[in-house]
């Protein structure tokens, strides 16, 4: 791979890519963004070369070396660009808590997220309830803090906020309101959305909803 400084391979609707965009922006790192336009049908040679095992975005390429998996990338960014804006909490215990909650959320949303827009009836309802239960657990973790990172916007905030652009989609399919069920969580979402890095990285929720409708059609899911 050529050394073009910092390159990010991504796809506009991926929350995992948004995590990296937010982190790079907060750190003030210049980067070249390459959109995988045809990600469902044919992946670019660069992506296949950079991430041959998973063939997924995001991939960060720094000095010609690829780093895959969004959480790995966030930790890498924080370790390399140390002097600007700290992403990870300082204390090992707080780091551990952030990592724990990210693993928890990622595992949950991988299954539950898809079931909320792709399935129907009881399965969809069960997914919705599981989703809300998870948000309530996160609300407890947030407590009275402005951010999950405390006074500072940090790792767990960056990891979670991109999924807020999918809330409208989940709400439309499952007929519920995140605001009504988890007002504290929405308050945190709104606070994060005030940050330039977040508003730049997150697409319009209506665009995301339209895209999911297209994907359903493409996959033949009613």
């Amino acid at each position: 791979m050529e050394d073009e400084g910092v390159v990010l391979l991504g796809f506009w609707s991926s929350p995992y890519v948004m995590r990296v965009k937010i982190a790079l922006e907060e750190k003030g790192i210049q980067f070249l963004y390459k959109e995988e336009e045809n990600i469902f049908r044919s992946k670019s040679p660069l992506l296949l070369q950079a991430n041959p095992i998973y063939m997924k975005v995001p991939v960060l390429i720094h000095n010609g070396k690829p780093i895959c998996e969004s959480l790995n990338i966030l930790e890498y960014i924080d370790e390399v660009w140390k002097d600007k804006f700290t992403i990870l909490p300082h204390h090992p215990y707080e780091k551990a808590k952030s990592r724990f909650w990210i693993h928890f959320f990622d595992k949950m949303i991988f299954d539950i997220g898809r079931r909320m827009w792709a399935s129907k009836g009881e399965d969809q309802d069960a997914a919705k309830l599981e989703f809300l239960k998870s948000l309530k657990l996160l609300e407890e973790e947030l407590g009275d803090k402005p951010y999950f990172g405390g006074d500072q916007f940090g790792l767990l905030d960056i990891a979670l906020i991109p999924f807020s652009c999918r809330f409208y989609t989940y709400e439309m399919f499952c007929k519920f309101s995140v605001e009504k069920s988890c007002p504290k969580f929405m308050k945190w979402v709104n606070k994060c959305n005030e940050r330039g890095s977040v508003s730049k990285a997150l697409p319009n929720p209506y665009k995301v909803y339209d895209f999911v409708l297209e994907v359903k059609k493409m996959l033949g899911i009613e």
Binding site: I67, E75, P92, Y93, K95, A96, R99, H103
Partner: protein
């Protein structure tokens, strides 16, 4: 009260990982045996890991840390001694990547190949073989996944070195052999000769007996 406590189970590869790491760092700890396989979890475990209700849980100065890989990173950040993760940010990202690869990609088909039969088993065996080939490739020019000494990936690969090898012996499966995978075979020999590994892995005969009892129970309940 002991400063460091570990909730685990004698037969669990996950709590074994933590014991390896603590011993590498020379940390004294109290091991609290949890009867997890009979679903007989203690109130303390449920208190310290209310979300997953699983072992291992590390308790340090009264604060719980859950999820084995999160605990490994915590141990590396908290105590001096041999490094579990490399110092270089890119090498750290690679170690984290391969750790996740082992856990999420490799172990499931390896377990499936061990416990299933017929077509399901054949499919799992094929998948596991392809993944072992990738792992074999990563050992090029290295004694351990961590380089000259054991690191995070080696610790997490304890499942392969001990649990999987024992399952292979019991079931007659010949997926991972010295002939098919010379580098992995050499890694197995070097890994199992490390004194900390030898003293921490559960006794082979006890684990063999426990697996055989499970196989017996599975076949008689059909």
């Amino acid at each position: 009260m002991a400063e460091v406590k570990l909730f685990g189970n004698w037969g669990s590869p996950f709590s074994c990982r933590i014991e390896i790491a603590l011993k590498l760092k020379g940390v004294e700890y109290e091991f609290i045996e949890e009867d997890v396989y009979n679903d007989n979890k203690s109130p303390l475990l449920l208190k310290y890991n209310p979300v997953h209700k699983k072992i291992p849980v590390l308790l340090h100065n009264g604060k719980p840390i859950c999820e084995s890989v999160v605990i490994l990173e915590y141990i590396d950040e908290t105590w001096e001694g041999p490094s579990i993760l490399p110092k270089d940010p890119y090498e750290r990202a690679m170690a984290r990547f391969w750790t996740k690869f082992l856990e999420e990609k490799c172990f499931p088909p390896m377990k499936q190949a061990s416990w299933s039969t017929g077509e399901e088993q054949e499919k799992a065996k094929e998948e596991a073989t392809e993944l072992l080939k990738i792992l074999e490739g990563t050992l090029s020019g290295k004694k351990f996944f961590g380089g000259d000494s054991i690191g995070m990936v080696d610790i997490v690969a304890n499942f392969i070195a001990h649990w999987f090898i024992i399952l292979q012996e019991i079931t007659g499966l010949e997926l991972l052999t010295h002939e098919k995978f010379p580098k992995l075979g050499q890694w197995l020999d070097d890994y199992l000769s490390c004194s900390i590994i030898k003293e921490t892995l559960p006794p082979k005969d006890k684990l063999t007996a426990s697996f055989q009892a499970r196989i017996q129970a599975a076949t008689t309940s059909k």
